[in-house]
Amino acid sequence: MNSKRRKLLQALGGTGIIAAAQPWTSAPAFAQNAPLRIGILAPRAGIAGTIGECGLKGTQFAVDHINSTGGIAGRKVELVIEEETNPKDTIERLRKLVLQDKVDCVQGIVSSGVSLAMGPVAEDMKALVVSWDGTTQDGVKETMPNKRYFFSSTDNECEAVMASLLAIKHWKGQFKTVAGINPDYSYGRNNFAAFQALLRKYGIEHTVVADQWPKVGTTDLNSHVAALKAAKPDLVFSSLLFADLPIFMRTAHGAGLMDGGTKFVFPAAGFQHTALKKSFTPPGMIFGHNTLYFDYAKGSELQKQFVQWYHEKTNDYPNWEADRAFFAMAVYKAGVEAAHKAKGGWPGKEDVIGAMEGVRVQSLGGPGMMRKDHIAEQTFYQGITTHDNKYDFPTLGTVDVMYADQLQKGTGQDFWKWIETANIKL
């Protein structure tokens, strides 16, 4: 029962049980042959356990790939996996990874609460951290004004921005009343606020007739749906994810919320896309798949390989968290290798950080880049759904692709100010 981690490690590193800690600073000559140790902080239990599961698959795929093709600058990769829980305990695990296991890099983290707490701690410990997710805008700017060691994922609001843009592009003039049902945490709050801010920016007259904030993990949404139905909105914007989304879909369908021509925008639908069965999910909705759309016809060979590998392992199709995890690993690999090449020898941590700034990589979902201000830029996929496919769940009929430079704030900007002033082409 307790051997899962070990098994995974063996599968990944091929080195079996971790050797005693080898700090890279003390013995550079020896270190050249020792595997690189990468700490992973991923949720395993509770609501977010499902994110961690998918992300870990991305990491595993990346590490298999790396280790079978010569490692990172010649060194194989070995993982130390720890659980992300609440901020208090996760910081303890981070300290363990950094101080005790002496890992070279920490990747993971999906919760904004944890990443907000972790940023300053990582900076203080000079720990190189590349986060998968968990970068909701609130609090980010005061917590980490000048990041040196912490690398963030793309802003969590990107998908809301893109979904809002698509809604405006496709349905402008077709809706006057809007309603929101979004998860009750910073992610949901900001998504709905971003949607409204963009409607204002493009001068779309609208009234919010209902806004619902079910707690994440609410399994009975009948009353929420009843409230939405009573408000008779022309458009419903919902960044629900996890199991909440299929539950909402099924409940809304059962109550007839989808019978009256109401439009639906689900920026985070790609997280539970395979659970949204056709029978209760009509076509013609806006679905966001974030940075990985598994069925993208023009997707890279790498993506197709991964999707197949994932499907064989789980009998399911992956969501974007796998891509985020892969991206984090790819950025670190690219940084190390660039620094290694530049230095002509094994690079120090500061060299790696320098090389990671501005590095471009090919992730599972598509091209991406790590900005100089330590915020990731990736490719986003959204579109309007269709039932015309071989699956029992809807996929995208038309796929819109946007690069994050269109979807997130520039260096040093405030997200909300950026929305007002940004020059985005619809």
Binding site: A45, A230, D259
Partner: protein, 293 residues
Amino acid sequence: MTAFLDVVIGGVFHAAVLFLVAAGLQLVFGVQKIVNLACGSFYALGAYFGISAVSWCLARGMPPAYFLPVLIVAGILVGLIGPFIEALLLTVYQRDEAFQLLLTFALVLMFQDVLRFFWGADPQQLGDLVMTYGRVKVGALQVPTYNLLVIAASVVIAAGLGAFLQKTRFGRILRATAENREMSLALGVNVRWVYASVFTLGTMLGTVGGALVVPTAAASLDMPVELVVEAFAVVVIGGLGSMRGALAGALVVGLLRAAAISWYSELEMLAIYLVVIGVLVLRPGGLFGRPLE
């Protein structure tokens, strides 16, 4: 009007499920004086097991329409872990309540991982099975037939429980044991057996509740800890140990939640806690409980 009915039906549906879990809590507390924090874990177990059972049957060619009885049977079957857990509780019957509470808290911790070990971290669902029974449409009002069936099942179980406790010999023994354990012992009642059966029955109410609700919802790992709080609100409002209290409390919580969501959604859970505290201030024993101390 339609909107109002929607809210009421939504609230009653929520109440129906809460009632089953709360009734389990009440039964166990009433007879054994143990507050079971793990009631939410049983609920989740019922939900997960229900999904597995239905999927297993469907894969073997069962017509989808039979899924409701399968769920009920699955709930009852998995409720059979009751006696084993009761055997564990047996060690602390004579101890301070703190230990009983802690023991069930330990079960909460263990079940989180047991569920994850068997079913993984991804939420489990039954797809669109719930729509097998279609919808009931009256004017603009639309309700999935299954939701009404769950309400009906809960009412039947409530009535059955009531009749069982009032009319049958075993029910009378239960009530007598609840009143006075020593007296029952003196009258030759096999208290060991009574406790084991009551705890199993309480467990089954939870597991059947979880199995019944899962087609409309999903089984997820945080189900147990979230539900406990609501179930506690129900029993405190209704009065600890009272079956009538479980019914009234479930309706109060279900309808209150539905109303709060419709009119001022920020108040959802807050409103429930405020009512709990209000009840405790004004009627310390709850609506149907006895005054304490």
